[in-house]
Amino acid sequence: MQAIIQKEDIHEIVEGLSLDKEVIAPVLLPDGEALYSPIKRSDRVSLDSSHIPIMSAKEFFFGSEEELFQFERTSSQDIKITPAAEPKDRVFLGIRSCDLKGVRFLQNFFEKPYNDETVTRKIEKTVFISLGCVAPAEHCFCVCCDGGPFLVEGADAQLVDLEDRFFCETFTSRGEEIFSHHQNLLKPAQAEDWKKKSATIEKVDQRFTQRSYMAVGVKETSMNTVPEKVWEVLENRCMSCGSCTYVCPTCSCFNVFDRSTPEGGIRIRTWDSCSYSGFTREVSGHNPREHTRDRLKRRFFHKLSYQCLRSNGRIGCVGCGRCVVSCPAFVDMSTFVTLLRQAKSEKTNG
């Protein structure tokens, strides 16, 4: 289906959806930043693509801290295990292309070879209505990572901002179902709308100021030819704070521990980070990735190398640019690729 919705009519759709589903959408905070948030009232939704939410959509599927199951000793022989509650039906409205690519990346990771249902069930029970980005942020480089700014698959529906109205297209039957209840608000897309949509897509490309030539990164990490000098600079900058991994839509390192309760305990999973030395330290005290340099190598190798690209089905960066914004030390993906290109050109030039 392709149709036109007036911007103000989105509210009515959201109100309708909120009746029986949890709706997640970008909201604007008082300081001007945006954040994906569960919403109850439609007036909080901000479908303005110039504000990219601070955090990715990751936390709604792979929680920063989430319960996996509860256990209780019922007798000296038996332990009763109660799995975490079944997730609710959700609609994720206004998810950016890059973030949805990130969710699909996580889905692939958590599905095979063992299906981790605490993550995958949440993804399966969510209908994704993505928002094409007509105003990319300064640090965005999804165009270099097959991360956006528009989708042709992977979402259930997509909205493209045509200034006063949205061009709405559905890719799946679930997407169609969402809009089928609101036929009165939809108008068939006319030739002029199609034209405007194509022109918008074409124009947006020029608005990306940041170009990260990811092919260089893929090649150098795959061949293990990243100059040591690059690692040295990055190592001395990196403060191992882990913020790049927390904001990254595709990072999935986690830690598992038990929290005791009077009856037994709760098994909890939290985000962890390959930036931390404690993440890989073994019980003996040996740490295969003791130095910051080893950890950075691991991180960029895992994002870019062919070996990982093959098992993940795509490169591990969607170009959302959040690491560029959050890193206090200029150790982000864009800088990495830029440093590689500089090192290469220095080598060529003498």
Binding site: M239, F257, S277, A329
Partner: protein, 598 residues
Amino acid sequence: MPLVKINGKQFESSWEEAIEKASQGLQKVVQKWGPDSVGFIGSTHCSNEDNYLLMRLARDVVKTGNIDTNNRLTYFPILDAFHECLGTGSSTATLKQVAEADFILVAGADLSGTCPQGASRILEALNRKAELAVVDPRATKLAKLATYHLKVYPSTDLYWINGMISHLIDEGKVGADFIGAKTAGYNQMRKELAGSSLSLAESMSGISAELLKLVSEHLVEAEKAVIVIGSGLTDTQDIKRVARGLINLALVTGHVGKEGSGILMVGGNNNTQGAWDMGAVPDRLAGAMSTNKSTQETYGDRKSGSLIGKDYLGILNGVVSGEVRALYVMGEDLLTFTHFRNGLQEALVNLELLVVQDLFPTELTKLASVVFPASAPYESSGTYANLERRVQRFDPILEPWRDTKADWEILSAVSQSMGADFRFKNVSEVTDDIASLISSYRGITSANLNKAIEGITWPPKEDGHPGEPWLQDGWKGKFSTALPEEGDRLETSEEYPLLLIPGRLSSFWDTGTRSSRINFLAREEIRSAIHLNPEDAKSSGVKGGWRVRVISPLGRLETAVVITEELPKGLAYLPIHKIDGDLQQLSKRSVPVRVEAF
């Protein structure tokens, strides 16, 4: 629940009972022994409002000047030096100035570990091709990125500082116009530095004269330059003297009171600046007001207590000697912060009254007559003043944990119960009271802070003004005496071949009352360990991971070994977050040691 001690044992009590017990205990001691028999320890972790009300309890209610924080041993002397030499007890620039500088001199600060925001601004400047000089004995991350790494021998800072100044004077490279217009005392300082030279600097500090010459010239020639002082300088010698030396260097090179220039102190705590501003100090009143007659009037009748009280060590010494009979401590575990150990624990037990406010049970709360459970910063609100003297408001994100109260609330209740004439219903009223009393905070009201998301840099020019990033016209700098003294340079010997320097790890904060409870942080680094260069470990006959004994002329401790190439040969590094032993003064001062395997 609060705890009160009855017949030597602590029992849970109601808030009313605990407040009554604390206030009656204080009154009893004041009546019997006078106001100066009471000591107050504030905290540079706590908010402006908390420290302000502790100050008022001490000065307005009990009427004593015995109030200080443990930052007396580290950062307060630097702020005192700023106050005396530059007329403002604070950094004279903001972090934005650091990012915009052409030349940055970092002395004794491992900013990547202790102040990431500061390190970030330096990296930003480096990306703009600024030059960076790092003075540090260790090859820290920042030192490795620096244009110049000046590998200084600890305790010799005044030699290199004065070497640089006298070189610039001798070469006629100082900014004469600037010195004439903006400073006083230049000729006196020049005379005093007659004995300084680059060659003396080289022989004492280990930094080559050539490098000192180069760095001093680049510093003076830079259009915009910033000097950053960190905790490394607080380890040795007389801290205030070293700070004065660096202020002399900033003045002689003309890098104060201009855009993109200034001198910054990076303290170890979130509210070092604020606690100092609020008057949690024994020798000045709030807002750095002097203790002269006219300000006495502001503070009411002072006949009953001393205006200039005992400082941090003075209070602790008083506890040991019996002169201080009641101690009120907010947010500090005196017993884990081991610069002062001998006899303190026994003396604390013998106090007539020990009141402690803290977030968690500590070694100190175990000894207290009254323990008030304080709520955490994320459960309360208030303001902090950061290293740029920018006052920012914080708000709760969690409900207070069980039966806890904010520090300011507890202090307000204790003061009330002792008959104080002030009463605060909420934290905003305290913020506003601060704005009405302290001239540099005038305009920093809760209403204005609510409108200013990024905070207000003191002093704002007028109501609603965000504050100025650097010292404005009208300031005057003062050169002061800052000479090295006999015995400043700490020497090692055959018996004690390593110089142990205290320091910090990025994953912990102070005594670890909070940070060591966070699994992710606690697992990153070993909280208690001595760091050694591989060669020194070998010659001491120890290996990484071993438990060892560290022995100094002052005492001994047992700890684990971490091997690191960041340290030069001859130096050992000891994080201060947890010290298992009794090396008196070790946690705050460098000391020669030897390391032995068990």
